[in-house]
Homo-oligomer: 187 residues x 2
């Protein structure tokens, strides 16, 4: 079972103006379990684009923390609007387990309708590729490269301040604080 | 004496290219003592300019955390190169104590020479206005609006991960991660 000081990366995107912004900021925070932050990564992805998988893989591959990294957590399966992440590819190319964290059970029907309307039907495949949705504590998760028991243990270790894992909560606070000038809560 | 969960704001600037950058990013992190991050602020100041005092006062005045804020910590008396902060004015206009944190005892002779060379002799007054330098643990501090004993107690509470107070250590990690794409250590 994972140790309390397990190194986890949490990734979230900054808010953006869907009518004007072509890119949005991505923040990654390295945490020791649920206790403290060790490092911060940043990059940009195209709003509603296709580059989030590639950008996340690049960030991790060039990071000095990669050798110690035990899990990558994403705040939802998509960054920058409908820039859907391929978690199977991230796991395959980095060798690190991926856990997608969701506050609510996703409304797939609504998402599929939106993707069809945006002429991005091919992304529905990526959503399905992320696999089964599991309940873990007060949240929902999708996993790749890790078994459910171990993923649940990591969620438990990292949820020290709220029902959202610390690496995700803090990535959200930073991304939001950069965009608005002051962070706004959802976690 | 201050409580363990005392709310403290730590402020640091991002690295910048002194030949090309006109502005640099400023990050503020709200912490509960030395334990966890509650919020993030961001703004920009002019490299070697005169706006850092005004920008910090604005950030704090508009923040939702202001009513709970017990101390403002600065990573050094200047942000963005020689944009020297007037800690007396910050304390007067916000009503909140200010603590300047320094890793080493400053070399005033060298700083004064640099300021004279840059034709910014008037900033020497601001440096002197920040008052006496005290040793607190492994670091040095200047204080305004707070007595030394209380300032030392806050330093002790917030230095949970290193000899640098957490709000400053994390502001540095974030600012550096935003600038370089990955944070680089000094704390």
């Amino acid at each position: 079972m994972p140790k309390k000081e397990i190194r986890v990366l949490g990734i979230d995107d900054a808010p953006f103006d869907k009518f004007n912004d072509k890119k949005t900021l991505i923040i990654g925070t390295f945490f020791r379990g649920g206790s403290f932050i060790d490092g911060v990564l940043s990059t940009e992805v195209t709003v509603d684009g296709n580059d989030s998988t590639k950008k996340i893989i690049e960030l991790i591959k060039k990071s000095k923390f990669k050798p110690q990294l035990q899990a990558i957590m994403l705040d939802g399966i998509a960054l920058g609007g409908f820039n859907v992440v391929d978690i199977v590819q991230i796991n395959r190319e980095t060798g690190i387990p991926v856990i997608v964290v969701m506050r609510d059970y996703p409304d797939f029907e609504k998402i599929e309708k939106a993707l069809i309307k945006l002429n991005k039907k091919e992304k529905i495949k990526l959503l399905k590729k992320a696999g089964e949705i599991h309940k873990a504590g007060n949240i929902f998760i999708q996993i790749c490269g890790i078994d459910l028991e171990k993923a649940e243990a990591i969620i438990k270790i990292t949820c020290t301040r709220s029902f959202i894992p610390e690496p995700i909560r803090v990535a959200h606070i930073i991304a939001s604080g950069l965009h608005f000038g002051e962070s706004r809560g959802k976690a």
